[in-house]
Amino acid sequence: MNIKEFSKAVKDKKLIIFGWDCDEGYYVVLTQKVPKQGFVHIEEKKLYLGKKLIDGALAKVYKRIKNGSEDNVWHYYLQIRGMNEDLSFKAIREAVINIRSQVHFAYNDKYYWIAHFNEGVRFTDDEGNSQLFKDAQSLFDHATIEGKKYINKAVAVVPIKGGLYFPQQRKRVFEIIFNKPLQSKDNNRRQISSFILNVK
């Protein structure tokens, strides 16, 4: 079969790829036809299923990719991993504590970063101040932001629609809401900061 025959055969067909990678686990990705290049992966429309395939998740994700609704992918990811969206700050806490995820977030225009090292967990801001804790649990209990123990008071984390998204590093920007539950969106904007989580 040559190229002409192939392009004739796949005319008006979509190509979706289901794959597995030893580093990243299972994924489903939508492709796009680009002239002279054939089918090209759309990295924004790539959804990771994790290293272990959960029953029912593949069909859901496949449909989601096929129907092209890529927003709120994070919500979906939590759903298929059996986590509750309302508890997603908890889910992130769990991720940091249990699977040593690296977390970036912003609060009052300052950036903060939680990273794991051999000697413990470090909580750093963009001015270079850092606090070192022996484990992630004590970081959440004792870390201070602007002199206050804010970090444990976050009540929810909301994915930003159409926000920054780094598919290669599998990071997604989140809004992290401190102290108050949602009332009106405009009021909350001031308290909300962005939140980037390394999805593992």
Partner: protein
């Protein structure tokens, strides 16, 4: 040598029928990755369970054999695509 990755190409037509084709190594072009001559067909309507079973099976078929010269049977393959997609 262990397999580091597997890929299944899923072609979807306007009627939602699927062709799941596993990839493997080409015999003619050593090292090149081509679609194998194993076609898993899923006709619409299908259940979630069937979709998963077929896709998982297709994933297992990856690299299960090396694809021979494709040039010898060009029409058969294109016929395969046409038959499934057009229902002829």
């Amino acid at each position: 040598m262990g397999i580091d990755y597997r890929m299944v190409n899923i072609y979807v037509d306007a009627g939602n029928n699927l062709l799941a084709i596993a990839v493997g190594e080409s015999k003619r072009m050593v090292g090149a990755i081509v679609e194998l001559d194993i076609v898993n067909e899923i006709r619409f309507p299908y259940s979630d369970l069937k979709l998963e079973t077929v896709l998982k099976r297709a994933l297992q078929q990856c690299f299960s054999r090396t694809q021979r010269l494709q040039r010898r049977k060009p029409l058969r393959e294109i016929f395969e695509y046409k038959r499934i997609f057009k229902g002829g």
